[in-house]
Symmetry: C2
Subunit: 216 residues, 2 copies
């Protein structure tokens, strides 16, 4: 019985996700689902990404959090449109929540939609939202064992960002361990090493975004 | 319908949790449920805690991870008994998984049972395991906004450990913001600032553990 309910929830989610994707395609908006553990730097990444994409067009953001509108307030400075989705006890965004969020956004001249998922390295991986690509962040402060320990998140990633690289000299982190684990779990997604704070590595990430948008 | 299924799962979990607690009480073992985001330092904390409790008695550990037995291997060096529980896609430990794990442990001369939950700052908060106390870790590298953003985890905590304090000088983290948020969410749990790596603050945490065990 329990399995049937779960399958039905996932099927219903996928149907709404397909509908969301159609909305994005028709508006010619590249939709990205950003996922990571809490505090890996999703909001800081967006604060530093959105202004650099201004020439390509404006960005909209849907932000998922259990509580507070702090991330939406931070992103309101640079993004053209921001909607905060509070999930209460919910551990991930669903396609239906994103569908509701989409209704709050004006898509005129919007080139990119960033969907910042709830900080959680497990549950969000199971729920498609209608995005064109899944972006997974891993902060080096979380340790070099996380790819092997959370394979369900890293396996479907389209791009992986290793964040907070500016802290490398202060912590024990073996980047080769991450690369070796990715060879077994996901050898296709590019891995970019970045520091949003210092700007290092941001060019490759921005080029990847522009390339994906131009191939919509 | 969906709510009924969820309630029934939680009720079934609570019944097994009560049974687990009875087993712990009869064995005079203090059981602690360690919860945090991925990479907050649960395993490193235990590597540095267990040897310091040797005078009080031996420690056993149940470790939850989606995949790998890396944490169990690390903890096997210091703990008397260690069992790894792999949850697959499961985002938290359940009381039933802990009940199965308890059957694998020998409780002779065991004083402490540490249950290291799956790294996840949302879901584990909803599932009692039969523990005597909930220990929640927050690494300062995750940011000072996490108490407000994840209140369901911090509200039921019996003790909160602020970890990786040795990195304070390299990051932006306002400890007063955490303390202010805790005043609204959980004003009873003590907050200990620690660095497992350098040993700072470990004495207060160890004293808290010994005190809780002596009051079993």
């Amino acid at each position: 019985m329990k399995v049937k309910v779960v399958e039905s929830v996932l099927n219903a989610n996928d149907a709404v996700a397909r509908s969301n994707k159609k909305v994005m395609d028709e508006a010619c908006v590249l939709a990205l689902n950003l996922m990571s553990a809490p505090g890996s730097g999703k909001t800081t990444l967006l604060e530093n990404t959105i202004p650099s994409l201004a020439k390509e067009g404006r960005s909209a953001v849907l932000v998922g959090d259990l509580q507070t509108s702090r991330d939406a307030e931070r992103l309101g400075v640079s993004a053209a449109e921001v909607t905060q989705i509070n999930t209460g006890r919910g551990c991930h965004l669903s396609a239906a929540q994103v569908a509701d969020g989409l209704k709050t956004l004006e898509f005129d001249d919007i080139a990119y939609l960033f969907i910042e998922n709830v900080g959680n390295l497990v549950c969000p991986a199971s729920f498609d939202l209608g995005e064109h690509a899944k972006v997974v962040l891993l902060s080096i402060t979380e340790g070099d064992d996380k790819v092997a320990k959370y394979p369900t998140m890293f396996q479907p990633a389209d791009v992986i960002l290793l964040t907070k690289m500016d802290l490398m000299e202060h912590i024990d982190f073996d980047i080769n361990r991450v690369k070796d684990d990715l060879k077994h779990i996901n050898s296709k997604a590019p891995l970019f090493e970045i520091s949003s704070k210092k700007g290092d590595g941001m060019d490759k990430w921005l080029d990847w975004l522009k390339d994906r948008r131009s191939n919509l």
